[in-house]
């Protein structure tokens, strides 16, 4: 199962890389969302999948799943959620202000 998941993570990273390298801001943002999901899935996979009973519920099972990766993912998801929301609003604002969503046209110049 871990091998399967690793392949899925790889595919997510590939998709994200492709999107991040494109020109449109919206696509880049979707790429960052996918790369952070890939990273979260990677934590889950790296912690080992389904090695025992759910943690913290009762004390009878012989083995428990490691709760730490889940806690890490929850934190990372919340952070990614906040950052994504902020960036989408900002991207929308900059689209309104600058009139373009093409990164090529956002190159810096010193004339301003």
């Amino acid at each position: 199962m871990e091998v399967m998941m690793s392949i899925v993570v790889g595919i997510l990273f590939a998709v994200a890389t492709y999107l991040i390298l494109s020109k449109s801001i919206l696509r880049i943002l979707l790429g960052t969302v996918i790369i952070s999901h890939g990273a979260h899935l990677l934590i889950l996979t790296m912690g080992g999948l389904k090695t025992g009973a759910p943690p913290l519920l009762g004390q009878e099972a012989p083995a428990y799943t490691d709760p730490l990766p889940q806690a890490l993912i929850l934190t990372a998801i919340v952070i990614a959620f906040g950052v994504t929301a902020l960036v989408f609003v900002l991207a929308y604002r900059s689209y309104q202000e600058l009139g373009t969503d093409d990164m090529e046209q956002l190159r810096g110049n010193d004339n301003e």
Binding site: L57, V78, G82, A85, V89, Y92
Partner: protein, 143 residues
């Protein structure tokens, strides 16, 4: 063009209260089974957002005159203060405790200080999520 939204408004009135109740249930359930401030807050947000979708923003601002940014701040303040409370008893920051008490109607109940922290989380999550959606929705151009 005025869209006819009678069905949406009528169902929203009923459903949002069911969702709100469910959100509060999930919030209190979180102490021992899956649930808690974060998910409870998000469910509550979905109820509020449903109302904002069904009715327009001016009506909603009249019905719920809450500044959600301040709600976020209040939530943070509560969460941090519960952590600071541990300092008064010379315990490490964020230490929580619980006890069993006999309450008048409920009988013996478990009361935990972690719930106070969770109230902070609940308020923060609700405040932030609603603020995000309102910020995008407030744009004049979309009206």
């Amino acid at each position: 063009m005025r869209i006819n939204d009678v069905i949406l408004q009528t169902t929203a009135k009923v459903i949002s209260f069911i969702i709100l109740t469910f959100g509060i249930y999930i919030f209190f359930a979180g102490h021992h089974i899956p649930g808690g401030g974060f998910i409870g807050g998000l469910i509550t947000t979905s109820a509020l957002v449903l109302l904002y979708v069904a009715f327009d923003m001016e009506t909603m601002n009249k019905v719920i005159p809450i500044d959600f940014k301040k709600m976020t701040a209040l939530g943070l303040l509560i969460a941090v203060s519960t952590g600071l409370g541990a300092l008064l008893f010379d315990q490490p920051f964020l230490t929580h405790t619980f006890g069993y008490f006999d309450l008048p109607i409920l009988g013996e109940a478990e009361l935990a200080t972690a719930v106070l922290f969770d109230i902070g989380v609940f308020l923060t999550v609700t405040g932030v999520a609603v603020t995000i959606i309102l910020t995008i929705g407030e744009d004049e151009k979309w009206k």
